[in-house]
């Protein structure tokens, strides 16, 4: 079984600006890929190119062997646009029924709406829905007809934390049934534990593409220590410890994993001048920043 999505050295220009540059990307069946990047990094453009909504100028994209935008590709692909809305005059059930008919899949519309937690709002007009409810409705249409590829653009935007848990539970179910999933996001902390692989786009260039563990090793990022001091002693402490002042009462130092305990002992020895210490191991955000910066050098 080959990859569900295969992108080979895709480039795209918008006027003189190159919005995608030699991007390669594959997603296997059942794999969950997080596509990270700033606004304007090319995530949405890449998704639109996969959907065949915008042409690419070089390279090729294949969805289960089919060209983007072809009838075959459209049948196998599900899509959740960023902060989508629907016609306010229709009810959730009517909107989803339309999508079911258009997709050609006989679907249990009420069941799907129940699955995303909209069973109470089934016959209410979408105009009365909150942003989170509209997002859930958008998610319900992704589940129509067992897609082979699901493209989710900022799926967590507008969702409260509990809804996010539900969302990732649904994504896991999709993956378990063999759907290849691409999640474009800048909600870094959430995709961390919820995806199999992470790709980072920066100015249209893919700067990283690996598992979180492998990326952490490659980046070898330092742990950060944030030290809060008595406000009248911060000057003196900064001179002693070094590091970077955060505000009137705190400073931050970075150290590699093996120096961490030595640093902690040194700071603890300073006694009452220290009010608090917090320690942050390298996280996705740091990785993201690391790989984003690397390119600009």
């Amino acid at each position: 079984m080959g990859n569900t999505l295969t992108i080979k050295s895709v480039s795209k220009f918008r006027g003189d600006i190159q919005v995608l540059q030699d991007v390669d990307l594959v997603i296997a069946p059942g794999e969950r890929l997080a596509l990270l990047g700033h606004n304007g990094a090319g995530k949405s453009t890449l998704i639109k190119a996969i959907l065949g909504l915008t042409p690419v100028h070089q390279g090729s994209i294949q969805i289960c062997g089919a060209a983007p935008g072809s009838a075959e590709a459209r049948r196998t692909t599900a899509f959740l646009p960023e902060s989508v809305s629907f016609h306010p005059a229709l009810t959730g059930r009517e909107q989803l029924t339309l999508f079911a008919r258009l997709s050609g899949a006989g679907a249990d519309v009420a069941g799907l709406l129940d699955r995303v937690g909209l069973s109470d709002a089934l016959d209410r007009r979408i105009g009365t829905y909150s942003k989170g409810m509209r997002q859930r409705l958008g998610l319900a249409q992704v589940l129509l007809g067992r897609p082979k590829l699901a493209l989710l653009d900022e799926p967590t935007s507008g969702l409260d934390p509990i809804s996010r848990q539900d969302l990732y539970a649904i994504i896991d179910e999709l993956a378990a049934q063999g759907t290849a999933i691409l999640i474009a996001s800048h909600a870094l902390t959430e995709v961390e534990a919820r995806t199999d692989r992470i790709a980072i786009l920066r100015n249209g260039v893919k700067v990283a593409d690996d598992t979180l563990a492998a990326l952490s090793r490659a980046a070898d990022l330092p742990t950060r220590l944030r030290i809060t001091a008595q406000s009248d002693q911060i000057e003196q402490l900064t001179a002693q410890i070094g590091g970077r002042r955060i505000n009137g009462a705190a400073l931050e130092i970075t150290c590699s994993a093996d120096q961490k305990m030595a640093e902690l002992r040194r700071i603890a020895a300073m006694g009452d001048a220290i009010v608090d210490i917090s320690m942050t191991p390298p996280r996705l955000e740091d990785l993201y920043r690391h790989f984003s910066k690397e390119d600009s050098r």
Binding site: L53, R74, V84, H87, L90, L98, R101, R125, G138
Partner: protein, 275 residues
């Protein structure tokens, strides 16, 4: 597969037109205007020697030139830009239906709504005139012609509305462009022609080019068709000259061709939309 998917879209659009009371409002407007013109226009019946419905068809023809394009544009201007604004256009386009199917689906629903409003509105006028004894076979035929041509005229401006909606990029811009479109086709075009005729002083332009230019505009073709086809309507509307200078097929040809031109332009414009 193509037709059922277009019909699914049409069904959903129809639901929207009913929900947001568009269907009701359009029908109400047509009924009120038709009734007002039937009663207000019934005064000169005796002096012209035609029946009540003929007079009212003549007034309603003049009214429909303005109203049919207006209602059509108001229905269609956000057909594509509305979905674009809501962010649901990219989603719709990721589904199997082609852009042609989406366009056809919306067109079918909105044309059905417009037809309903026209038939009920003008039909009410006809029924009322018949009930009060002011109609005959000829005037009923003229009424049927008015309804059919009003629907065709509506179809033209629905399709032009889709074109504008696709070109505009947002509903706000589409609304502005629709207003401009209406003004050009319904008001400014005629004013321009009138000015040219006055300048020309019955020269070559007035004799030869002017009738063709006039009938090239769907709104004028609508007027000419309705007037040329019925002597009584022509008499009561006081417009005979220009219509008689053209072959009989010119106005119907123009009005039948325009929806096809409009839909083709709309499809091309829609094809260029990148959601």
């Amino acid at each position: 597969m193509m037709i059922p998917r277009a019909l699914s879209i049409a069904q959903s659009e129809m639901l929207i037109l009913r929900r947001n009371r568009w269907l009701f409002m359009a029908t109400l407007i047509m009924v009120l205007f038709a009734l007002a013109l039937t009663f207000a226009g019934s005064a000169p019946t005796g002096s012209l020697g035609v029946d009540m419905l003929t007079i009212s068809v003549a007034s309603m023809t003049t009214l429909s030139v303005y109203l049919a394009p207006l209602l059509a544009l108001m229905m269609s201007f956000d057909a594509i830009s509305g979905d674009l604004d809501r962010g649901s256009l990219s989603l719709l386009l990721s589904y199997p239906p082609s852009r042609t199917e989406i366009l056809v689906g919306k067109f079918l629903a909105q044309l059905a709504a417009l037809s309903f409003a026209m038939i009920v509105g003008f039909g009410t006028a006809g029924a009322l005139a018949t009930w009060s004894g002011g109609s005959g076979p000829e005037s009923l035929l003229a009424l049927a012609r008015l309804i059919a041509t009003s629907i065709l005229l509506g179809a033209v401006f629905l399709s032009l509305g889709y074109m504008v909606s696709a070109l505009a990029g947002s509903s706000t811009a589409a609304a502005g462009m629709s207003a401009a479109l209406w003004l050009i086709f319904v008001v400014l075009f005629d004013l321009g022609l009138l000015g040219a005729v006055v300048m020309d002083q019955s020269g070559y332009f007035t004799q030869t080019i002017f009738p063709w230019l006039m009938v090239a505009n769907p709104a004028d073709a609508f007027r000419v068709w309705n007037i040329a086809a019925s002597d009584a309507v022509a008499l009561s509307s006081g417009m005979t000259g220009a219509a008689s200078a053209l072959p009989g097929w010119a106005a119907p040809g123009s009005l039948l061709l325009w929806p096809i031109i409009g839909l083709t332009l709309a499809r091309i414009a829609f094809g260029r939309v990148e959601p």
